[in-house]
Structures are given as C-alpha cells and as structure tokens.
C-alpha cells in the first residue's frame, strides 16, 4: 500500500473499545503536520519512552528539532537518547501525566515562561492506551491543539496519523522533514 492510500483508508482505533460519543481525530497528512508546526505560535513536541528502543524515532526528533526549532518535552526516559544526540529538552523529569495536567491549565506559563502551548505534537509512546487517555483529557478540558504522529491512530487527538505499518510510518515521518 502506498502512503497516500494509507492516509485515505478508513482507519481503526488502536483499541476498538476506546469509543467516545464526540468527534474522533481527523487524519492528518505529513505535509500538514509540518505546516501546522510552522504556523503555530508556540508549539511543543512531546516524546515518549519508545525513543529508548527506536533509534529511528530519535533521529526524527533530532532532525525535526534542528529544522523547525520546536521545543522538546521528553517523557518516559526519552531524554537520555536525545541528550546523547545533543538535544536539550526543555523538560525531562515530568511524566506525560504531569505535562497533560499542566497543559490543561490556562494559567500555565510553559517551561519557557512564554505562556501555555497552542500546539502539542506527540510521538514515541510505548503504550497507545496511555497517550489515548491523556489526549482524551486534553480534548475535553483544554484548548490545546493536539497532533499524534505515533504509529497507531489516536481517536482523541484533534489530528492523528492513521495506523501505519513500520515502513509507511517512517516514510510518513520523513515526509514531515522534507517539507
């Protein structure tokens, strides 16, 4: 299957039982992810523990950071491989749970003191169900735009990649970098 077709196909939720009555995430294409990061005033990339075991994801995050300057909040221990590659995340010790709680608070000034973030991009979570719950919290209780660029479709994000096999997934990530 080509990447284009994968993004047009009706996709499945990572767990068929994770159903909500309200709207599910719109499928987002890699080029649009890049555009949204570029147009956003205060975006942040939030990384998860899968970076500890997937060098390609680390590569992607390093390149995206270098190319766009997007700040990285590293959770799940993902800071270690990033720091080894010369990236300095703006936060390392707070878990995704903390970060989500902060994002929900309109009065949070962010880790850089510039105010809450308007776009949160998520990548590299070992457990899709954990990210799903956090996206659900953000959907219902925050104003933050959320994009999941993980390998599973995340219904509670505002925008999400569809389910992609390994090859197509890395191809999609590369396309973000090419824009």
């Amino acid at each position: 299957m080509s990447l284009d077709k994968a993004f047009e196909k009706v996709t499945r939720i990572f767990n068929p039982a994770d159903i909500q009555a309200s709207k599910c995430a719109s499928i987002i294409k890699p080029k649009v992810v890049a555009t949204m990061i570029k147009k956003s005033k205060h975006p942040v990339l939030i990384t998860g523990g899968k970076l500890l075991e997937d060098e390609k994801l680390v590569d992607f995050v390093v390149k995206l950071h270098e190319k766009t300057g997007i700040d990285v909040i590293a959770t799940g221990g993902s800071s270690r491989p990033l720091i080894e590659r010369g990236i300095k995340p703006i936060a390392t010790v707070f878990t995704l749970h903390y970060i989500t709680q902060y994002l929900i608070d309109l009065n949070w000034k962010g880790f850089d003191g510039k105010g809450n973030y308007d776009l949160a991009v998520f990548i590299g979570f070992t457990t899709p169900y954990y990210l799903s719950r956090m996206l659900s919290a953000l959907k219902h209780f925050s104003r933050v735009n959320t994009i999941s660029i993980c390998e599973y479709y995340q219904p509670h994000a505002k925008f999400s990649f569809p389910n992609l096999n390994e090859d197509l997934y890395y191809e999609a990530l590369n396309m973000i970098l090419e824009v």
């Binding site: 590293a74 799940g76 221990g77 270690r80 880790f111 457990t127 169900y129 954990y130």
Partner: protein, 798 residues
C-alpha cells in the same frame, strides 16, 4: 457497688412494662484520650480532603464522554457539557471513581465480614487478637479511624458494622442528581479508601490471630513460586482467588489424612499467598495473568475458586480441559448447582466422572474432602496430555493466520502477535512468541476476535513452554504486621530522611511491559537501602525474578522492615500493614495520639514520612480503593500506564507557589514550602521514569539537611542514570547548601548561581539568597488548623 454490665435485659419490678435493653457493652480502658474524629462520617474529614485537593488537583482522563446511568440519558458530556440531571463530565468521572473505590472497598469488607463471621463461629467472640509479643499496636487503622483497641475477634464485628454503614451511605450519594462538585465526590472516594484500609486490617489481623500465620516474623519461611514449581507426578489442586477459608480446609484435610506429601496444593492470586502463610509447603503458581496459562496447560486436576480476582470464564475454560471446578463463594457461584448439603461421595463421583462440570459448595469446611478426593481420582483416570497443544497442532494453528492484525488491536498491550504469527508461518521460527510471553497477561481477548479461530494464547504458551517451566523462584511467606520494635528502630531515620524512603510495591500484574521490569525497579531501591515492602501479585512476581544463580530478591535481601530490607506483608488485605506501619511511625516515634485522630496523623505522614506506593500493574477496583486510601493518609503512589484508565489522578503544580505552604508550629508562621511531594497519584510510562519518580516523591518538607542530602543524592543519581541529566526541579528542594549532595556541591552551587540567579557566598560556599525557604532544624509543619492550635496554644483567625 460495682455493677457488672453484660448484654441482655434489665426488668424493673416496680415499673410495669419497663425493660431496659443493654446492647453491646464496650469495655475500653482509658488507653488514650479520644481524638476529634472517631468513626468519621462522610463529611467529618472533608476539611482534610479539601486541603489535599487544593494542592493535588484532580485530573480526569475520561474513558467515555457519555453517561448512561439513568433513563433521562444517555447524555453526551464531551468538553465538560452537562447532562440531563445537570452533572458535568468532570463530576461524572469523579462519581465513577467513587463507584470503583466502593467496589474495591466492598470486596475487602465482604471478605473481612465472611472471615470474622466464620471465626466467631469457630473460635468464639472472645478469641484474642494476639499478633505476638512485638506487636502492641495491633490495629493502627482501626485505632486511628474507629477509635478502639480491638482485643478479640468479636470486637471486629462492630468495626465492620461501621464500615458497612459508611459504604452504603457513600453509595447512596451516587444516585442521579446529587453532588454538584467533583471535589465532593473526590472527598467521598478518599473516605471510601480510608474505610478500605480499616476493612483490610480487620480481615488480616483476624486471620493472622486465628490461623497462626507468621506474626511480623522477618524470617517467615520461603515458599516455592512460579509456573515451574509443581510436581506433576502428584495430583494438583489449584486454588484461585482471595479468601483462604476453602484452601485452609484443603490443607487441614490433607494433614488429617496423612496425604500432605501425596497432593500438590497450589494457588493463584492472593489465596496463594494466604495459603502459604498457613502452610509453607503450599506453592504459588502466580498471579491472575497465570490463570489461563495454568488452566490451558491442563496441569490442575481440580480447580477451586473462591472470590474476587478470578476469571469469569473459569468454568468454561476448565470444562474444555476436563477439569472439574468447585466454586465456594456467593460472589462467584458460576451458575453451578448448590450441593453444599449433599453426600460428598455422590459429589465426588459426579465430578470425577464428568457428569458434573462443577459444583457450588458454600461451606468451606466441606471443600477439603471433596477437592482432595476429586484430585486424586481424576489424576488416576486421566492420561498425560501435552500442555496446551501438540507440536503438529501448533504448526497447524499458525498456518491459519492471515495477518489481519485484529489480535493486535484487541490486545490490551497491542502486542504484535501478527508479526510473531507470520514469522512462524513463513520461517518455522516460533521465537517471537517467547518475546511476547512475558508481557502477555493471557486475557484471551485476541482469541475472541480472530476470524480464523486460532488458539492464540495456547500458541504463545506452547511456543514458550521451556520459558514458562523455567519460571521458578522463592517468595517469603507474608509476614503480616510490622513489629513495634522495628518501627522504634527506623522511625527516626525515616522521618529525618536518613533512610531515604519506603517503597511499597503493591497491586496487580497488568504491567506495561515484561514482568521482569518490576524486579528491576525494586532491586534498584534495595541496593540503595530504601525499605521495600510488598504484597499481593507484586510480591509473587518478585519471587519469580531471579539472578543467574536462581536466587530471588527474597533470598538476597533480609525480610526485616529496615534499610535494604524486602518485606512481604502478605495478600491484598495485608496492605493494611503498610498503611499501619506509617501510622505507627507517627504513634511510636513521634508519640502522636492515634485514637480517632485521622487528620493529624495523615498530616504528619504527608509532611514527614517519605513513603511512596508503586502499583506497576494495577487493574482492579480494589487497587483503586487501596491507592485512594493511601492518598488520604498522605502517601503518594506511582502507577503504571494502564492505571490511567482509572480516569483520575491527583497531580499538583509546582509552579503555583500559592498552593505550597504550611503552618510552622515552631515559628508560629504560615510559610512557603517546597512542592514535596508534588503528586499523590501519577502515572509513569516506563520503568526508567518510574524509578526516578519514586525517588523524587520520597522527599518531604520536614527532612533534616542530612536526610534531604541523601534523598537528593539518590534523586539526582537516578535522574542522571535513567534520564541522562539533572532533574529539572532539583533546585526547588534545596533549602541550604547542606542539602546538596557532597560530591556535587560546587557544581550544583554554580548551576544555582548561573541558571537560577541564586546568590552564593563562594568563600564560605554558602547560599545567601534563592531557596523557597531557609532550613530550620526545628521546623514543625502542619496543614491543619486544629493541629497548629493544639501544639502552639494559639488560635488561627480563619
């Protein structure tokens, strides 16, 4: 004249038709003045909850955005909309959290009631609660909440009366159209959690006292643990659940008939732990995630179920394997005929012949004979089968796979079963199943959706059979309470911080990754000489975590409640000994009165005792309730990622400075403090993250500088080891240069100056300006007004 008051009637002769009825006579010597909140009702500790909830803001991650509990609905509540009754999404989630806690606490309470009822019948109400010479504070939770010192098993009945009443009252509040604030539902959840610890304590001290379990013995026997420990040459009785009564009767029957060496008694889940407390020769097969493994292996000759964590398809699964089932609990009667009062000979014959797939026997005293006789007869009649399936069947099953990946999407862990299947199908290599096995919880959801009907669990297990058989180790039998003398020894170093913390590994086996990760987390803290306590499924899995020589952590670390000790307190209900231990620190070391004095003790614990729970695989409602009870007591918990499905966490915001304050009894001032701990319940994604969070959440405002220095050293070292850098927030916990790790002092002072703008006197290497507050050796923090007033004699103008 001394009047001897007893239960009964007094009839006054001179006054016609006047009878005075005397109910329960409570003989309480004046062991301690009664505190402000004995037998608290729902609202009595709301003021304490509000203190907690102000700091630790509830966080909601909805599983659904609708409510369908009444017929005005279903109502769509997304984006915090209100439903037909007026409830909004947050409050509805809080309501569901209360419900989950009620299910959990009711399970323990019903369990406790069953035990106490049985023990009163067997041993009488006057049977003493004797937990050994070294345990004088026998029931810290009961003393703290209910306000009595229970001396006999009969005394526990009134404690349960109170708990049951409160649980019903809270359940009533969940009716449509009541609470308007999620904070009020959270207060109720905290109340239920507190009651749960009381009920658990009742259950465990009753069984310890009556069945002569180990009584706080650090050298409780080591017991064989793991899938591979069963002697397959003997008939095997597999007992599953949480209530020891049927299992105890089986052990007694075997002993009475000289059969103890002829039959294997093995358990799954907490019944396994409690059976080994009664008889260390019994064996632990594993946790709930081993239930389908054990049944599908065909090894058991009979399965006995009691209550709580047992699969709801146990009878169906056993029937497929020709294994008879004996259900023993009202909570799980499995559609089986009640044959409690029938002739055992007939029941045994029906089960052995297969005429009956199972029976319900409600009297635990009758289970022993039937279970043992059935196991022996079944073993005689059945031949040896290959576990799970034969080699040819295995190959044939794999060939059916089309790679549709429905199994992956239904798997709670999204395990790539499709990849393992296709690899085996194309290359004949089954090794990828071995990689999946340690994470697989054997729930069977994959089989429900497979369009080809592949027996996926059997395929995984058959492919990993050598791995499963090699799973052997030793656990220490649950020792029950922590001794008062142990508390006397470690109370001061824990409160001062020189023992850096108490890590409580408790809960279920729904781990995010392989089981081994739990052992890796715990070993990190044992090596660093934290005190580690454990219970339930975590305690069992630690018994299977072995080194190259086959030694488990229980064999490598002492069982004492001391630095570097690994303490297995017992089953689920023994979690009350962990909350009991922190309560006892306040009572024994700090001499704080316990009786009906909940808020003062919880406040003491929150500010001073660096204890943190780890529920790495929590799945059940009981785990929700237990954790919430710990939270009300001021003990935070780190949970695994599945626990986000409980929907609620308590997470503070370090940057909201106005929320982090205490009253200092010494200086008589309200002063800002460091955000320690900054969460009461928070999830970690990976073991690396969990380790760092556990060390972080052990920090407390009342640490001495030496204690803070030790805690910061571990926190910083662990962050550097697992996160690759200094933690973001270490500077928040620095009050004086003496707090800093000695080896890093200069480097950290420089960072404080350069990155945080602190003023440093470099000549004397002293911090001049910067910390949230100055260190004061006499600092005496409290959040509670009446505690402040009690110890200062001054009134706070509210």
């Amino acid at each position: 004249m001394v009047m001897d008051l007893r239960d009964g009637f007094i009839v006054l002769d001179e006054m016609r038709n006047v009878t005075i009825r005397i109910g329960k006579v409570i003989e309480e010597d004046e062991w301690e003045p009664m505190g402000p909140t004995p037998k608290p009702h729902i609202l009595d500790l709301r003021y304490w909850d509000q203190k907690l909830l102000e700091r630790y803001e509830p966080f909601y991650a909805p599983m659904q955005d609708f409510c369908n509990l009444c017929t005005m609905g279903p109502c769509e509540l997304s984006h915090n909309k209100e439903g037909a009754c007026g409830i909004d999404l947050k409050t509805q989630k809080a309501r569901l959290v209360v419900l989950a806690c009620l299910i959990g606490a009711s399970s323990h309470t019903a369990h406790a009631r069953h035990l106490v009822h049985y023990l009163v019948e067997k041993f009488g109400r006057d049977h003493p609660i004797d937990l050994g010479n070294n345990v004088n504070i026998e029931a810290p939770n009961v003393r703290l909440v209910f306000g009595i010192r229970p001396k006999t098993i009969g005394d526990l009945e009134m404690v349960l009366d109170y708990v049951e009443q409160e649980l019903v009252r809270v359940l009533h509040t969940l009716h449509t159209g009541q609470e308007e604030s999620y904070l009020d539902y959270e207060s109720k959840a905290l109340h239920v959690g507190m009651l749960d610890h009381v009920a658990m304590e009742v259950a465990d001290i009753a069984q310890v006292a009556a069945f002569n379990y180990p009584k706080g013995d650090p050298d409780a026997p080591l017991v064989e643990t793991g899938f591979g420990v069963l002697d397959l040459n003997k008939p095997v009785i597999l007992i599953i659940g949480h209530n020891v009564l049927p299992a105890r009767n089986i052990v007694d029957y075997l002993e009475e008939h000289g059969l103890e060496d002829e039959v294997e008694v093995a358990g799954l889940c907490c019944t396994a732990i409690d059976t080994t407390r009664y008889d260390p020769k019994a064996k632990i097969v594993g946790t709930l995630s081993f239930e389908l493994r054990a049944i599908r292996s065909g090894i058991p000759d009979v399965v006995v179920t009691d209550e709580q964590c047992i699969r709801a398809d146990t009878l169906r699964e056993c029937s497929k394997m020709g294994i008879p089932v004996i259900a023993t609990s009202e909570a799980a009667s499995r559609g089986l005929p009640d044959r409690t009062h029938e002739n055992p000979d007939v029941i045994v014959e029906d089960l052995v012949s297969g005429r009956a797939k199972g029976v319900l026997i409600r009297d635990p005293d009758k289970v022993g004979e039937i279970a043992v006789r059935v196991a022996i007869e079944v073993r005689k009649r059945k031949g040896r089968k290959e576990p799970f399936m034969g080699e040819e069947e295995l190959k044939a099953e794999v060939q059916k796979c089309t790679g549709c990946a429905r199994c992956v999407f239904s798997c709670p862990h999204n395990l790539r079963i499709d990849v393992a299947m296709q690899h085996a199908k194309k290359k004949g290599d089954f090794s990828k199943f071995k990689e999946i096995e340690p994470t697989c919880i054997a729930c069977g959801r994959c089989e429900q959706v497979c369009p080809k009907g592949i027996r996926i669990v059997d395929v995984i297990m058959k492919s990993s059979l050598d791995q499963l058989k090699s799973k052997t180790g030793k656990s220490r039998a649950g020792r029950g309470p922590i001794q008062d003398v142990e508390i006397r020894k470690v109370g001061q170093p824990i409160v001062m911080g020189t023992i850096p913390g108490v890590i409580a590994a408790i809960g279920c086996p729904n781990y995010p990754r392989a089981r081994e990760e739990l052992g890796q987390i715990i070993e990190e803290f044992l090596k660093r000489r934290y005190i580690v306590v454990t219970s339930g499924c975590h305690a069992m899995d630690l018994g299977m975590y072995t080194d190259e020589e086959g030694k488990s952590l229980y064999e490598k670390y002492p069982g004492s409640f001391d630095a570097g000790g690994l303490v297995n307190v017992g089953s689920c209900v023994a979690n009350s000994h962990i909350s009991g231990a922190v309560i006892k620190i306040a009572a024994i070391f700090a001499q704080r009165p316990l009786r009906g004095n909940y808020a003062e003790i919880a406040d003491y614990i929150l500010n001073r005792i660096g204890a943190v729970g780890l529920a790495w695989g929590a799945y059940s409602q009981k785990a929700a309730s237990i954790a919430t009870g710990f939270n009300r007591l001021g003990v935070p918990a780190v949970v695994g990622p599945h626990s986000t499905k409980y929907r609620r966490a308590y997470i503070g915001k370090y940057w909201k400075r106005e929320k982090w304050w205490v009253y200092d009894i010494k200086s008589k001032k309200k002063i800002p403090v460091e955000p320690a701990p900054d969460a009461l319940l928070v999830c970690a994604e990976t073991k690396e993250e969990a380790i760092v969070q556990l060390a972080r959440l052990c920090i407390r405002p009342a640490d001495t500088y030496l204690g803070r220095q030790i805690k910061l050293t571990h926190y910083i070292e662990l962050s550097q080891k697992y996160l690759g850098c200094l933690p973001d927030d270490w500077h928040l916990y620095v009050r004086t240069e003496a707090d800093l790790p000695v080896k890093m002092r200069d480097q950290l002072l420089k960072i404080l100056e350069d990155e945080h703008g602190w003023k440093i006197d470099w000549k004397n290497k002293k911090i001049l300006e910067g910390p949230i507050r100055q260190y004061d050796a006499g600092f005496n923090p409290t959040l509670v007004e009446h505690v402040y007033e009690k110890y200062t004699g001054e009134k706070i103008i509210r």
